[in-house]
Amino acid sequence: MVAVLERGALPTQAEFHEAISNRSDRWFSACLRITHSRELAEDAVQEALLAAWNKRHQFHGDSSLETWIHRIAVNAALQLIRKQRPGIFEPLEPDEAESADSPEDDVANHDVGDTLAAALRHLTEIERVCFILRHMEQWKLKEIANEVGTNEGRVKQALFRGVKKLRVKLVDMRSQ
């Protein structure tokens, strides 16, 4: 266990290492849920750590260092999938068919490995991301809209559709 070091004005290198040791699985998991790719999730955490280190003078201790990095990592994951899959968050028609799963999705879902992960497979990208950010990451709708690059109304619609699909799927799964 890393010793608690004297805290100066900035988070220390030791505190970063301690945060990695204690919380990187959670950062990675959050990024994995968003990207559906282990490689992208790993890259997101890597980028987040470097960004956090370089901007650590902006860390004022309002939240824990781990929480601060978590937020940066989720942002990095969003940016990575937007870069790798342009148009991923374009608005979809409400009755648009569910997206087909790729082999990569299967790997990611196997990793997450629970009922929710299975249900999330039936959501479109924007529905899944909006649900994850609102429900699991506790982001505000406005924050999601800003980071996803859309407006709050579209985020709401994606969330509503996602919640409806999840509830239906969960009822189906429970009845099986």
Partner: protein, 249 residues
């Protein structure tokens, strides 16, 4: 939708305490208190959403965790090197170094003859130019020459240690190399050393190709070898000039 116009979408926003105005929230609250059917629907929604807890974290691969630790180590080391220029001022990713060199050029160093007038010898990849010790600078022009030599030398060393597989670390290193190279190129142009600028400019397309995400490991390896060779040529040239002429290079 029930008779007072509150549907599941509104209840969803009410559940998350987000996206409703205070007045809308108060209206939902009042409706829940007086409408049993609505309250039952809301309780079912709460049960459904409440059961959707985040799953247990997925363990990250040990090598990824090691890489994350290493990235902090490297970032801290680079920062330390920037903060202590007197001990080792010329680490490749250091922007401080580039700024120092640019400042040296501003005071009027004549570098136009750096690469002019001499035929470049055919170097060997394994010749002695990769040594870490370079002559101590004796003048502003010598300072620049030393900085340039270290830039080229450390570029070659960084290239040798560059990860073959595309990664954020690799991209970051190459981006820094490109930025540093541009800085030297601009400085050379501003000081009338077109030959030097041209040589440095020729490195950039190779660096950019190396930084491409879709480059194959084979292509990356070949490009790195090509670049290492060309860096070696310039370094050999530098060494010869330095030994032949103690004055401005």
């Amino acid at each position: 939708m029930n008779e007072i116009g509150i549907n599941d979408d509104t209840l969803t926003l009410y559940y998350y305490r987000d996206g409703l105005t205070a007045a809308e929230r108060a209206r939902v609250q009042a409706a829940l208190e007086r409408d049993v059917a609505l309250r039952e629907r809301y309780e079912q929604l709460c049960a459904d959403l409440g059961g959707l807890a985040a799953p247990e974290p997925v363990p990250a691969a040990p090598d990824a965790v090691a890489r994350w630790h290493d990235s902090i180590e490297r970032a801290a080391r680079i920062e330390h090197q920037r903060a202590t220029p007197g001990k080792r001022a010329f680490h490749l990713p250091s922007f401080t170094w580039g700024a120092a060199v640019a400042a040296a050029l501003v005071v009027g160093i004549g570098i136009g003859s750096y690469l002019s007038g001499n035929q470049v010898p055919e170097p060997s990849i394994n010749d002695g130019v990769a040594g870490n010790e370079l002559p101590a600078p004796a003048s502003p022009s010598a300072t620049f020459a030393r900085g340039l030599a270290v830039h080229l030398q450390e570029s070659r060393q960084e290239l040798a240690g560059l990860p073959i597989e595309a990664s954020s670390e690799r991209a970051m290193l190459l981006t820094h190399m490109i930025q540093q190279n541009r800085m030297f190129e601009r400085a050379a142009v501003e000081n009338g050393s077109q030959d030097l600028a041209r040589v440095l400019r020729a490195f950039e397309p190779i660096l950019v190709r190396l930084a491409a995400e879709d480059i194959s490991p084979q292509d990356a390896e070949a490009l790195q070898a090509q670049l290492a060779f060309e860096l070696n040529v310039v370094l050999t040239k530098y060494r010869r000039n330095a030994s032949e002429d103690a004055g401005p290079i």
